[in-house]
Amino acid sequence: MTEQRKLEFRDVARGRALQQRLADLVARAGRDVTLMHVCGSHEQAFARYGLRSRFPQGLRVQMGPGCPVCVTDAPEIDAAVALAERGYRVLTYGDMLRVPGSSDSLMDARARGARVDVIYAATQAAEIARGSREPVVFFATGFETTAVATAAVLLNAPPANLFVLSAHKWVPAAMEIVAESPETQIEGYLAAGHAATITGCGLFEPFVERYRRPVVVAGFEPLDILAALVLLVEQVLGGKAEVVNAFPRAVTKNGNQRALTALFKVFETDAGEWRGIARVPRGNLRLREAFAAHDASLRFSGEFAAPKLPRDGALECCCGGIMTGRLTPTDCRLFGSKCRPDTPVGACMVSSEGACRIWYDLREREASE
Protein backbone atom coordinates (compact mmCIF):
# COMPACT_ATOMS: atom_id res chain seq x y z
CA MET A 1 0.00 0.00 0.00
CA THR A 2 1.48 3.34 -0.96
CA GLU A 3 1.29 6.35 1.33
CA GLN A 4 -1.32 7.89 -0.92
CA ARG A 5 -3.51 4.78 -0.74
CA LYS A 6 -3.20 4.76 3.04
CA LEU A 7 -4.40 8.34 3.15
CA GLU A 8 -7.45 7.43 1.13
CA PHE A 9 -8.41 4.97 3.85
CA ARG A 10 -8.24 7.84 6.34
CA ASP A 11 -9.95 10.52 4.25
CA VAL A 12 -11.42 12.99 6.74
CA ALA A 13 -14.46 14.19 4.77
CA ARG A 14 -15.51 10.63 4.01
CA GLY A 15 -14.99 9.67 7.62
CA ARG A 16 -17.23 12.54 8.75
CA ALA A 17 -19.87 11.56 6.25
CA LEU A 18 -19.89 7.99 7.50
CA GLN A 19 -19.99 9.20 11.08
CA GLN A 20 -23.02 11.32 10.24
CA ARG A 21 -24.71 8.43 8.47
CA LEU A 22 -24.11 6.23 11.50
CA ALA A 23 -25.60 8.90 13.79
CA ASP A 24 -28.66 9.23 11.52
CA LEU A 25 -29.21 5.48 11.52
CA VAL A 26 -28.94 5.16 15.28
CA ALA A 27 -31.25 8.16 15.74
CA ARG A 28 -33.76 6.52 13.41
CA ALA A 29 -33.63 3.39 15.56
CA GLY A 30 -34.88 5.50 18.47
CA ARG A 31 -33.21 3.13 20.95
CA ASP A 32 -29.78 1.86 21.90
CA VAL A 33 -28.06 -0.43 19.41
CA THR A 34 -25.51 -2.85 20.87
CA LEU A 35 -22.83 -4.39 18.68
CA MET A 36 -19.69 -6.35 19.47
CA HIS A 37 -16.25 -6.55 17.93
CA VAL A 38 -14.16 -9.68 18.41
CA CYS A 39 -10.69 -8.36 17.74
CA GLY A 40 -8.16 -6.58 19.93
CA SER A 41 -6.87 -4.79 16.85
CA HIS A 42 -10.29 -3.17 16.41
CA GLU A 43 -10.19 -1.81 19.96
CA GLN A 44 -6.68 -0.52 19.25
CA ALA A 45 -7.94 1.24 16.14
CA PHE A 46 -10.84 2.73 18.16
CA ALA A 47 -8.30 4.14 20.62
CA ARG A 48 -5.74 5.25 18.03
CA TYR A 49 -8.23 7.24 15.98
CA GLY A 50 -10.43 8.32 18.88
CA LEU A 51 -13.39 6.54 17.32
CA ARG A 52 -15.26 5.71 20.52
CA SER A 53 -15.76 9.38 21.33
CA ARG A 54 -17.23 9.85 17.84
CA PHE A 55 -19.77 7.07 18.04
CA PRO A 56 -23.27 8.49 18.23
CA GLN A 57 -25.08 8.37 21.51
CA GLY A 58 -27.07 5.18 21.60
CA LEU A 59 -24.47 3.10 19.79
CA ARG A 60 -22.63 0.68 22.01
CA VAL A 61 -19.77 -1.39 20.67
CA GLN A 62 -18.83 -3.99 23.26
CA MET A 63 -15.51 -5.77 23.34
CA GLY A 64 -15.59 -9.48 22.67
CA PRO A 65 -13.11 -12.28 23.29
CA GLY A 66 -10.74 -10.88 20.68
CA CYS A 67 -7.37 -10.85 22.35
CA PRO A 68 -5.47 -14.13 22.08
CA VAL A 69 -3.10 -13.15 24.85
CA CYS A 70 -6.02 -12.49 27.19
CA VAL A 71 -7.84 -15.76 26.55
CA THR A 72 -4.78 -17.97 26.97
CA ASP A 73 -5.70 -19.84 30.12
CA ALA A 74 -3.59 -19.54 33.29
CA PRO A 75 -2.82 -23.30 33.39
CA GLU A 76 -1.54 -23.07 29.81
CA ILE A 77 0.91 -20.38 30.94
CA ASP A 78 1.71 -22.44 34.05
CA ALA A 79 2.72 -25.32 31.77
CA ALA A 80 5.14 -23.11 29.83
CA VAL A 81 6.53 -21.66 33.07
CA ALA A 82 6.97 -25.16 34.50
CA LEU A 83 9.01 -26.31 31.49
CA ALA A 84 11.14 -23.14 31.61
CA GLU A 85 11.79 -23.76 35.30
CA ARG A 86 12.76 -27.38 34.59
CA GLY A 87 15.57 -25.93 32.50
CA TYR A 88 14.15 -26.28 29.00
CA ARG A 89 14.61 -23.45 26.58
CA VAL A 90 11.19 -21.86 25.90
CA LEU A 91 10.36 -19.62 22.95
CA THR A 92 7.32 -17.37 22.86
CA TYR A 93 5.85 -14.28 21.24
CA GLY A 94 6.71 -11.06 23.06
CA ASP A 95 3.23 -10.22 24.28
CA MET A 96 2.97 -13.52 26.20
CA LEU A 97 6.04 -12.83 28.32
CA ARG A 98 4.39 -10.79 31.05
CA VAL A 99 1.00 -12.49 31.21
CA PRO A 100 0.58 -14.00 34.66
CA GLY A 101 -0.32 -17.65 34.94
CA SER A 102 -1.86 -18.85 38.21
CA SER A 103 1.04 -17.29 40.05
CA ASP A 104 3.95 -16.48 37.74
CA SER A 105 4.65 -15.24 34.24
CA LEU A 106 7.39 -16.40 31.88
CA MET A 107 9.08 -13.10 32.69
CA ASP A 108 9.14 -14.07 36.39
CA ALA A 109 10.69 -17.41 35.45
CA ARG A 110 13.28 -15.63 33.33
CA ALA A 111 14.14 -13.30 36.20
CA ARG A 112 14.91 -16.40 38.24
CA GLY A 113 17.30 -17.64 35.57
CA ALA A 114 15.08 -19.70 33.25
CA ARG A 115 15.83 -19.51 29.54
CA VAL A 116 12.88 -17.83 27.86
CA ASP A 117 13.39 -16.17 24.49
CA VAL A 118 11.08 -13.96 22.49
CA ILE A 119 10.58 -14.68 18.82
CA TYR A 120 8.64 -12.59 16.31
CA ALA A 121 8.25 -15.22 13.60
CA ALA A 122 7.25 -18.87 13.90
CA THR A 123 10.07 -19.84 11.53
CA GLN A 124 12.59 -18.74 14.19
CA ALA A 125 11.44 -21.62 16.40
CA ALA A 126 12.68 -24.15 13.83
CA GLU A 127 15.88 -22.16 13.18
CA ILE A 128 16.74 -22.01 16.87
CA ALA A 129 16.04 -25.73 17.34
CA ARG A 130 18.23 -26.56 14.33
CA GLY A 131 21.08 -24.62 15.90
CA SER A 132 20.74 -26.51 19.18
CA ARG A 133 21.19 -30.09 20.37
CA GLU A 134 18.81 -29.87 23.30
CA PRO A 135 15.01 -29.85 23.28
CA VAL A 136 13.47 -26.48 22.37
CA VAL A 137 9.88 -25.71 23.43
CA PHE A 138 7.81 -23.33 21.31
CA PHE A 139 4.93 -22.00 23.42
CA ALA A 140 2.62 -21.39 20.47
CA THR A 141 -0.24 -19.00 21.18
CA GLY A 142 -2.77 -17.01 19.22
CA PHE A 143 -5.76 -17.45 16.95
CA GLU A 144 -5.91 -18.97 13.49
CA THR A 145 -3.67 -16.23 12.08
CA THR A 146 -0.69 -17.48 14.10
CA ALA A 147 -1.80 -21.13 14.23
CA VAL A 148 -1.37 -21.40 10.45
CA ALA A 149 2.24 -20.29 10.87
CA THR A 150 2.88 -22.94 13.54
CA ALA A 151 1.29 -25.50 11.22
CA ALA A 152 3.51 -24.44 8.32
CA VAL A 153 6.62 -24.84 10.50
CA LEU A 154 5.60 -28.38 11.49
CA LEU A 155 4.90 -29.29 7.87
CA ASN A 156 8.30 -28.10 6.69
CA ALA A 157 10.66 -30.84 7.97
CA PRO A 158 10.92 -29.60 11.57
CA PRO A 159 14.00 -30.62 13.58
CA ALA A 160 13.38 -33.55 15.97
CA ASN A 161 14.21 -31.42 19.01
CA LEU A 162 11.42 -28.88 18.34
CA PHE A 163 8.38 -29.33 20.62
CA VAL A 164 5.24 -27.27 20.29
CA LEU A 165 3.21 -26.44 23.40
CA SER A 166 -0.01 -25.40 21.68
CA ALA A 167 -2.32 -22.85 23.29
CA HIS A 168 -3.77 -21.91 19.90
CA LYS A 169 -7.45 -20.98 19.83
CA TRP A 170 -10.13 -20.98 17.15
CA VAL A 171 -12.15 -17.72 17.22
CA PRO A 172 -15.41 -18.74 15.52
CA ALA A 173 -16.11 -21.15 18.40
CA ALA A 174 -15.95 -18.32 20.96
CA MET A 175 -18.42 -16.15 19.04
CA GLU A 176 -20.99 -18.90 19.59
CA ILE A 177 -20.39 -18.81 23.34
CA VAL A 178 -21.03 -15.07 23.38
CA ALA A 179 -24.14 -15.40 21.22
CA GLU A 180 -25.51 -18.03 23.57
CA SER A 181 -24.81 -16.03 26.71
CA PRO A 182 -28.19 -14.68 27.88
CA GLU A 183 -26.74 -11.51 29.48
CA THR A 184 -25.19 -10.19 26.31
CA GLN A 185 -27.80 -8.65 24.05
CA ILE A 186 -25.58 -8.31 21.02
CA GLU A 187 -27.41 -7.32 17.84
CA GLY A 188 -24.54 -7.60 15.39
CA TYR A 189 -20.90 -8.57 15.17
CA LEU A 190 -17.89 -6.79 13.71
CA ALA A 191 -15.66 -9.70 12.67
CA ALA A 192 -11.88 -9.50 12.58
CA GLY A 193 -10.52 -8.87 9.12
CA HIS A 194 -7.20 -10.60 9.57
CA ALA A 195 -8.56 -13.83 11.02
CA ALA A 196 -11.16 -13.86 8.23
CA THR A 197 -8.31 -13.62 5.71
CA ILE A 198 -7.59 -17.21 6.73
CA THR A 199 -11.09 -18.57 7.39
CA GLY A 200 -12.98 -16.61 4.72
CA CYS A 201 -16.18 -14.75 5.49
CA GLY A 202 -18.30 -17.71 4.37
CA LEU A 203 -17.39 -19.36 7.66
CA PHE A 204 -19.77 -17.00 9.46
CA GLU A 205 -22.79 -18.07 7.42
CA PRO A 206 -23.87 -20.95 9.71
CA PHE A 207 -23.47 -18.58 12.68
CA VAL A 208 -25.70 -15.95 11.09
CA GLU A 209 -28.21 -18.60 10.11
CA ARG A 210 -28.32 -20.04 13.60
CA TYR A 211 -28.33 -16.90 15.73
CA ARG A 212 -30.04 -14.52 13.28
CA ARG A 213 -27.48 -11.78 13.93
CA PRO A 214 -25.57 -9.94 11.17
CA VAL A 215 -21.80 -10.26 10.87
CA VAL A 216 -19.71 -7.68 8.99
CA VAL A 217 -16.03 -8.39 8.37
CA ALA A 218 -14.03 -5.20 8.85
CA GLY A 219 -10.50 -3.96 8.23
CA PHE A 220 -8.57 -1.72 10.59
CA GLU A 221 -8.45 1.74 9.05
CA PRO A 222 -10.94 4.31 10.35
CA LEU A 223 -13.01 4.16 7.16
CA ASP A 224 -13.04 0.36 7.23
CA ILE A 225 -14.49 0.41 10.72
CA LEU A 226 -17.00 3.22 10.22
CA ALA A 227 -18.23 1.65 6.99
CA ALA A 228 -18.64 -1.72 8.70
CA LEU A 229 -20.58 -0.16 11.59
CA VAL A 230 -22.90 1.57 9.12
CA LEU A 231 -23.52 -1.74 7.36
CA LEU A 232 -24.24 -3.46 10.67
CA VAL A 233 -26.67 -0.85 11.96
CA GLU A 234 -28.43 -0.82 8.59
CA GLN A 235 -29.00 -4.56 8.92
CA VAL A 236 -30.15 -4.25 12.53
CA LEU A 237 -32.69 -1.57 11.53
CA GLY A 238 -33.88 -3.58 8.55
CA GLY A 239 -34.24 -6.73 10.64
CA LYS A 240 -31.70 -8.48 8.41
CA ALA A 241 -28.99 -10.95 9.33
CA GLU A 242 -26.38 -11.46 6.64
CA VAL A 243 -22.64 -11.86 6.32
CA VAL A 244 -21.12 -8.81 4.61
CA ASN A 245 -17.49 -8.51 3.60
CA ALA A 246 -16.43 -4.90 4.17
CA PHE A 247 -12.74 -5.79 3.81
CA PRO A 248 -12.59 -7.12 0.23
CA ARG A 249 -8.96 -6.12 -0.25
CA ALA A 250 -7.95 -8.94 2.11
CA VAL A 251 -10.91 -11.22 2.70
CA THR A 252 -12.61 -13.64 0.31
CA LYS A 253 -15.59 -15.91 0.80
CA ASN A 254 -13.56 -19.11 1.06
CA GLY A 255 -10.49 -17.71 2.75
CA ASN A 256 -6.97 -18.94 2.27
CA GLN A 257 -7.53 -22.62 1.44
CA ARG A 258 -3.84 -23.38 1.36
CA ALA A 259 -3.43 -22.05 4.91
CA LEU A 260 -6.59 -23.78 6.16
CA THR A 261 -5.46 -27.09 4.69
CA ALA A 262 -2.11 -26.74 6.49
CA LEU A 263 -3.88 -25.73 9.71
CA PHE A 264 -6.16 -28.77 9.84
CA LYS A 265 -3.48 -31.16 8.66
CA VAL A 266 -1.57 -30.30 11.83
CA PHE A 267 -4.29 -29.32 14.32
CA GLU A 268 -7.75 -30.45 15.31
CA THR A 269 -10.28 -28.51 17.35
CA ASP A 270 -10.89 -29.56 20.92
CA ALA A 271 -12.81 -28.22 23.90
CA GLY A 272 -10.73 -25.87 26.02
CA GLU A 273 -10.85 -23.16 28.65
CA TRP A 274 -10.75 -19.55 27.47
CA ARG A 275 -9.44 -17.54 30.39
CA GLY A 276 -12.20 -15.95 32.39
CA ILE A 277 -14.82 -16.78 29.76
CA ALA A 278 -15.86 -20.40 29.59
CA ARG A 279 -14.94 -23.84 28.44
CA VAL A 280 -15.41 -23.43 24.72
CA PRO A 281 -16.38 -26.52 22.71
CA ARG A 282 -14.07 -26.63 19.66
CA GLY A 283 -12.31 -23.52 21.02
CA ASN A 284 -8.78 -24.93 21.24
CA LEU A 285 -6.43 -26.22 18.55
CA ARG A 286 -4.43 -29.27 19.60
CA LEU A 287 -1.83 -31.14 17.60
CA ARG A 288 -3.03 -34.20 15.72
CA GLU A 289 -1.62 -37.59 16.55
CA ALA A 290 0.54 -37.56 13.42
CA PHE A 291 2.54 -34.75 15.08
CA ALA A 292 2.82 -36.43 18.49
CA ALA A 293 6.61 -36.53 18.14
CA HIS A 294 6.61 -32.71 18.32
CA ASP A 295 3.87 -32.32 20.92
CA ALA A 296 5.33 -30.82 24.11
CA SER A 297 2.22 -31.76 26.10
CA LEU A 298 3.00 -35.45 25.41
CA ARG A 299 6.79 -35.34 25.45
CA PHE A 300 6.95 -33.56 28.82
CA SER A 301 3.68 -34.84 30.27
CA GLY A 302 5.32 -35.90 33.55
CA GLU A 303 6.99 -32.54 34.10
CA PHE A 304 4.14 -30.07 34.47
CA ALA A 305 3.58 -28.77 37.96
CA ALA A 306 0.42 -29.44 39.97
CA PRO A 307 -2.37 -26.85 39.58
CA LYS A 308 -1.61 -23.63 41.43
CA LEU A 309 -3.78 -21.37 43.52
CA PRO A 310 -4.69 -18.07 41.91
CA ARG A 311 -2.51 -15.09 42.82
CA ASP A 312 -3.62 -12.22 45.01
CA GLY A 313 -6.41 -10.16 43.48
CA ALA A 314 -6.99 -12.60 40.63
CA LEU A 315 -10.42 -13.58 41.93
CA GLU A 316 -11.63 -9.97 41.71
CA CYS A 317 -10.39 -9.64 38.11
CA CYS A 318 -13.20 -8.84 35.66
CA CYS A 319 -11.43 -9.82 32.43
CA GLY A 320 -14.03 -12.51 31.70
CA GLY A 321 -16.94 -10.06 31.97
CA ILE A 322 -15.04 -7.53 29.84
CA MET A 323 -14.26 -10.05 27.10
CA THR A 324 -17.87 -11.16 26.83
CA GLY A 325 -19.23 -7.64 26.60
CA ARG A 326 -20.94 -7.66 30.01
CA LEU A 327 -18.56 -5.12 31.60
CA THR A 328 -16.14 -2.41 30.53
CA PRO A 329 -12.64 -1.98 32.03
CA THR A 330 -13.73 0.90 34.26
CA ASP A 331 -16.33 -1.37 35.89
CA CYS A 332 -13.47 -3.33 37.46
CA ARG A 333 -12.36 -2.27 40.94
CA LEU A 334 -8.77 -3.23 40.18
CA PHE A 335 -8.53 -1.12 36.97
CA GLY A 336 -5.83 1.52 37.33
CA SER A 337 -5.32 0.83 41.03
CA LYS A 338 -4.08 -2.66 41.81
CA CYS A 339 -4.07 -3.64 38.15
CA ARG A 340 -1.81 -1.48 35.98
CA PRO A 341 0.48 -2.22 33.03
CA ASP A 342 3.48 -2.50 35.38
CA THR A 343 1.60 -4.68 37.89
CA PRO A 344 -1.02 -6.51 35.82
CA VAL A 345 -3.50 -8.77 37.60
CA GLY A 346 -5.54 -9.77 34.57
CA ALA A 347 -4.30 -10.63 31.13
CA CYS A 348 -6.34 -7.80 29.58
CA MET A 349 -3.95 -5.29 31.19
CA VAL A 350 -0.83 -6.94 29.77
CA SER A 351 -1.25 -7.21 26.06
CA SER A 352 -1.30 -4.18 23.80
CA GLU A 353 -4.42 -5.82 22.36
CA GLY A 354 -6.10 -6.19 25.77
CA ALA A 355 -9.11 -3.99 26.42
CA CYS A 356 -7.90 -2.80 29.83
CA ARG A 357 -4.43 -1.93 28.55
CA ILE A 358 -5.85 0.01 25.61
CA TRP A 359 -8.25 1.96 27.84
CA TYR A 360 -5.49 2.59 30.40
CA ASP A 361 -3.08 3.95 27.77
CA LEU A 362 -5.80 6.10 26.22
CA ARG A 363 -6.69 7.56 29.63
CA GLU A 364 -3.02 8.34 30.35
CA ARG A 365 -2.65 9.95 26.93
CA GLU A 366 -5.75 12.10 27.40
CA ALA A 367 -4.63 13.10 30.89
CA SER A 368 -1.25 14.27 29.55
CA GLU A 369 -2.79 16.33 26.75
Binding site: R14, R16, R21, A121, H194, P248, R249, R258
Partner: protein
Amino acid sequence: MCLGVPGRVIEIEGSTALVDFWGVRRKVALDIVDEDVSLGDHVLVHVGFAIRRIAPEDLAETLAFFETLTSEALEGLER
Protein backbone atom coordinates in the same frame (compact mmCIF):
# COMPACT_ATOMS: atom_id res chain seq x y z
CA MET B 1 0.92 -11.21 17.96
CA CYS B 2 -2.04 -11.21 15.63
CA LEU B 3 -1.02 -7.91 14.13
CA GLY B 4 -1.10 -8.33 10.37
CA VAL B 5 1.36 -6.10 8.61
CA PRO B 6 1.23 -5.33 4.90
CA GLY B 7 4.56 -5.03 3.11
CA ARG B 8 5.98 -5.00 -0.41
CA VAL B 9 7.94 -7.91 -1.87
CA ILE B 10 11.40 -6.84 -3.04
CA GLU B 11 13.18 -10.19 -3.48
CA ILE B 12 12.10 -13.81 -3.84
CA GLU B 13 14.29 -16.85 -3.30
CA GLY B 14 12.49 -20.20 -3.37
CA SER B 15 9.71 -20.06 -0.80
CA THR B 16 11.16 -17.08 1.05
CA ALA B 17 10.71 -13.41 0.21
CA LEU B 18 12.40 -10.28 1.40
CA VAL B 19 9.62 -7.85 2.28
CA ASP B 20 9.83 -4.14 2.90
CA PHE B 21 7.59 -2.77 5.66
CA TRP B 22 7.99 0.97 5.25
CA GLY B 23 11.76 0.76 5.53
CA VAL B 24 12.12 -2.29 7.78
CA ARG B 25 13.09 -5.38 5.82
CA ARG B 26 12.33 -8.89 6.94
CA LYS B 27 12.45 -12.39 5.49
CA VAL B 28 8.98 -13.77 5.07
CA ALA B 29 7.92 -17.38 4.38
CA LEU B 30 5.67 -17.93 1.39
CA ASP B 31 4.59 -21.51 2.29
CA ILE B 32 0.95 -20.72 3.00
CA VAL B 33 0.25 -17.58 0.97
CA ASP B 34 -2.94 -17.96 -1.05
CA GLU B 35 -1.57 -17.08 -4.51
CA ASP B 36 1.73 -16.90 -6.34
CA VAL B 37 3.59 -13.79 -5.33
CA SER B 38 5.67 -11.64 -7.68
CA LEU B 39 8.16 -8.86 -7.10
CA GLY B 40 6.39 -5.62 -6.25
CA ASP B 41 3.26 -7.33 -4.89
CA HIS B 42 1.94 -6.47 -1.46
CA VAL B 43 1.46 -9.23 1.07
CA LEU B 44 -0.23 -9.34 4.47
CA VAL B 45 2.20 -10.89 6.96
CA HIS B 46 1.56 -12.57 10.32
CA VAL B 47 4.42 -13.86 12.53
CA GLY B 48 6.80 -14.27 9.60
CA PHE B 49 4.35 -15.85 7.14
CA ALA B 50 2.62 -14.15 4.24
CA ILE B 51 -1.05 -15.14 4.58
CA ARG B 52 -2.48 -13.15 1.72
CA ARG B 53 -1.33 -11.57 -1.51
CA ILE B 54 -3.03 -8.20 -1.80
CA ALA B 55 -3.69 -7.83 -5.49
CA PRO B 56 -3.80 -4.28 -6.92
CA GLU B 57 -7.35 -4.96 -8.16
CA ASP B 58 -8.45 -5.88 -4.60
CA LEU B 59 -7.15 -2.58 -3.31
CA ALA B 60 -9.12 -0.90 -6.07
CA GLU B 61 -12.22 -2.88 -5.09
CA THR B 62 -12.10 -1.63 -1.50
CA LEU B 63 -11.56 1.92 -2.69
CA ALA B 64 -14.52 1.61 -5.04
CA PHE B 65 -16.61 0.21 -2.19
CA PHE B 66 -15.76 3.23 -0.03
CA GLU B 67 -16.47 5.48 -2.98
CA THR B 68 -20.02 4.13 -3.30
CA LEU B 69 -20.76 4.07 0.39
CA THR B 70 -19.27 7.44 1.18
CA SER B 71 -20.79 9.14 -1.88
CA GLU B 72 -24.20 8.15 -0.58
CA ALA B 73 -23.25 9.42 2.84
CA LEU B 74 -21.82 12.67 1.41
CA GLU B 75 -25.03 13.27 -0.51
CA GLY B 76 -26.87 12.70 2.75
CA LEU B 77 -24.75 15.44 4.34
CA GLU B 78 -25.52 17.90 1.58
CA ARG B 79 -29.26 17.37 1.78
